[in-house]
Chain length 453, copies 2
Amino acid sequence: MPRPIRFNAFSMNAASHQSPGLWRHPRNTSVAFNRLDYWTDLARLLERGLFDALFIADVMGIYDVYQGGPEAALRGGVQVPVNDPLLLVPAMAGVTEHLGFGVTFSLTYEHPYPFARRMSTLDHLSNGRVGWNIVTGYLDSAARNLGLARQLGHDQRYDLADEYLQVLYKLWEKSWDDDAVLLDRESGRYIEPSRVHPIGHHGEHFQVPGMHLCQPSPQRTPVLFQAGASARGQAFAAEHAECVFISGPTPTVLRRYAEGVRQASAAAGRGPGEVLIYAQALLIVADGQEQAQARFAEYRSYVDLDAALALLSGWTGIDFAGLDPDALIEYVENDAGRAALAAFTAADPSRQWTVREAAEFIGLGGRGPVLIGSASEVADQLERWIDQTGVDGFNLTYAVQPDDLSNVVELLVPELQRRGRYPLTYAEGTLRHKLFGQGDRLPEQHAGRKVRI
Amino acid sequence: MPRPIRFNAFSMNAASHQSPGLWRHPRNTSVAFNRLDYWTDLARLLERGLFDALFIADVMGIYDVYQGGPEAALRGGVQVPVNDPLLLVPAMAGVTEHLGFGVTFSLTYEHPYPFARRMSTLDHLSNGRVGWNIVTGYLDSAARNLGLARQLGHDQRYDLADEYLQVLYKLWEKSWDDDAVLLDRESGRYIEPSRVHPIGHHGEHFQVPGMHLCQPSPQRTPVLFQAGASARGQAFAAEHAECVFISGPTPTVLRRYAEGVRQASAAAGRGPGEVLIYAQALLIVADGQEQAQARFAEYRSYVDLDAALALLSGWTGIDFAGLDPDALIEYVENDAGRAALAAFTAADPSRQWTVREAAEFIGLGGRGPVLIGSASEVADQLERWIDQTGVDGFNLTYAVQPDDLSNVVELLVPELQRRGRYPLTYAEGTLRHKLFGQGDRLPEQHAGRKVRI
C-alpha cells in the first residue's frame, strides 16, 4: 500500500505571506487577519480536511533591503503589518480537537526561561498539539530594534541556538519528574518537592539555575519544526527537528534536499521514521483544468512584482533594485539568502532564472511549485512529486484565502482518500503521537532526552 | 443617584492564587487551570455577571524565601505551577463579547519591542478589550533565572519602567498615523509609507530605531492597570495608571490609599474621572447569613498556614520561618514587602497582628477583607465600604472556584441591580470606552499621548 500524503497549512499572522499583491484579489479575506474569527474559521476548515497542523511563519522586522528602505514593503503590505503568532493558538485550539499548531519563534529574541513557560502553557491548553518552528532570525531590522547592532552571524546564531535548546530540554524534560504532581487533597501535598529539580544551567550565553515553572505538559517538548536549508541549519535540523519544511521549484531540487535531510539525520544517530519532510506547494484546484488555469491566470494578474522583489531582497539580503530585471541570477554564497537563491540557481542546473522570472515565481506561492488542475489532475501530480522526491507531504500555502485551502479540503482531499493516499480520520492523542505513532514524548534517543541536569 | 459599584475578578494562571490550601476543598476546580475550558467557563460566567474585566496576576519565579527554599511553596502549590497569563486571553476573548482582560506582565523580563507587538495583537484579537497590569517583578528567583544576579533595586526598576513605557507609547501611539492603512485594492497600496514612522528611540536602557510592526489596534495603548503601593509605585501609577488595584484589611486603610492615589493623580495633572480604583475583596455569598458563615468556617479549615507564610515571605522578602508565630509583626521598611506589611501594621494603627494572625488573614482572600452573608447583607457591606473608602469597585478574589464568583454573579449582582448600584448591561465599545465613556484612546492629556518621536 502506498504511503499516505500528509498536508500541513502554511500561513502567517499577516495579510500577505507568500503571495505578494494577492491581498488585492476581491475574494481574498486575508486582510481580516487581525480578527479572531478569521483564524478560528481557518482552524475549523483545516481540521475538516484532516491537516496535520497549521504552521505559522513569523518575522519581527520589516523587509527594508529592497531600494534601501521599507517603502516598497509597506506599500505592498509585504509581511507587514505582522502580529504575534503564539497568541493565535489558544483561540484555534479552543475550536478544534485534533489540529496541530506549529508556531515560529526566533530564539535570538527572548530569553529561554519565559519562552519555555509559554510553550508549556500552549501545550497544556491545546492538550498536546503544539509544535515549535525553530528559527534564528534573518532580518537585520529585527535585530536593530532589539538593541543589537545587527543580526548575529549565521553560525553564531546556531551556536546560540544549541545552548538555547539545552536550556529548554533541561526545563521541559528533566526539571519535573512524571510523578512530581501529587494533588493529594488528604495530605495537603500538591507537589512532592524532591521530584522537582533546579536545572543548574551555567553556560556561555545563559544562566538558568532554577526549576521550570510549569508541570509536565502532554508532550513536554513541543514537536520540533525546522526549515533551515543552510549547511549549519541542516546539521541543526539533523539533531533536533522532527518535521522539516523544505522548498524548491522542481522535484530534482526537493529530492536532493530530502535526501540530505535523511542522511544527516541518520548520521546523527536517528531512526528513519523520526523525521517527516514537507515540501512547500501552492495547489490551485478547481472543477476542471480549464477553470483552474483561468484562476491561475487571474491570480497572476494580481502579483505585485515590486512587492515580490522586496520579499526576495529581504530573504537574501541583496537589494534587487539595482539589477536589470532581465539579468540572470547568479548563485551567491550568502547566509540568509542561500536557500532562496539556491532554489533558483545552483541547486537546479537545468535552468537559469532572470530577476523578473524569480520575482514572478515567488509572487505566487513563495518558493514552491504551483500545481494546477482538477482534483484528479492535482492528485496525479502530488503522487508523482511524492514518488519522485521521497517527501512525506506538503506544506500548503495559499494565494487567496480561504478559496485555495477550502478547495483542497472540499475537492482534493476526498479524491486522495478515494485513492487510499490520505487518512480517513485523525489518530487519537497528541500531535507527536498523531505524526509518529510512538507516544507523546520525544524518542529516547533524541538529543532532548539525553540532556543531564 | 448613587455611583454604581464595579466588579473585577482577580485570578492567576495557577491553581492556588490568594487562598493557600483551598485547592484541597472538594468543590474547588482550580487544579484544572491547565485546561482551556476552565478559563472559557470562567470568562462566560464573568460576562454573565457584567464584570469589567478579569485581572490575571503573574509571577515568574518560585516563593523560596520561607525556610530558605522552595519546598513549602511546592508542597502547598503556592502559585506554582504557574503558566503564562497572556495565552489565556485569545481563547477567552473568543467566547465573550464584552469582558475585559487585564494581564500582568513584568517589564523587567522582556524587551519592549516584542512586548508591544504582543499587546497590540491581543488588542486586535479581542477587539479592544485588553488591559496591561504593569509590574516590575519582585521575586529574586525570577531575576536569577533570567540571567540577572538579583532583582534590580526597587527605584531602579521604576526608572527602567519609565523608559520602557516611553518606548511602548511611541510604538503604540505615534508610529502609525490613523490613516496609514489604505487597503486600496485599486492602486495596490496597502499602507501609505509616509504615514508610518520609525520611532528613533535611543535611551539609556533601550535602542529602538524602527517602526511598530502592527497597525493601530482599537485602543492602541491597552488600558493601563497598576497595583503598586510603594511611594515610587504610586508616583508611577499617578502618571500612567487608569485602573489602580489596592488592598487592605479595613476601610480606614483603603480610604487612605485611595485618597493618596487620587491626590497623586491630580498632582500629575490628570482629571478626577481618569482613574478607577478597585479594592481587593473575597465575598462569601449564600442564601442566608448562617449558610455563609458555615461556608466561611469550612473554608478556614482548609487554609494551609505553612503555605500562607511561604506567600507572605515571598511578598515581603522576609523569612517568617524564624519568627515566633505569636510575635507581633513590626513595620519594616522594605521595598517589596511594604504593601503587605503596611496593610497589617503601620497603616492601620487600630490593631496589631501576630505572625499567625497575618497568615490566617491572607490565608483567605489574600490581603483584602472577607465579606460574608446573604446577598442583601453583603450588598449592605459593599455599599458601606464604597461610601467609606471612595473606591470605585472591588477586585474579587475567590477561595473556591467557581462557587465564590458564581454566587456573586447569581445572587449578589441581581441584588445590587435592584438597588440601582450595579449596571444592567454592558456599554458598547472597547474596554476603555466601557470604563470611562470617553472613547477608545488614552485621554489627550495622558503621558502616553504626549510622547514625541
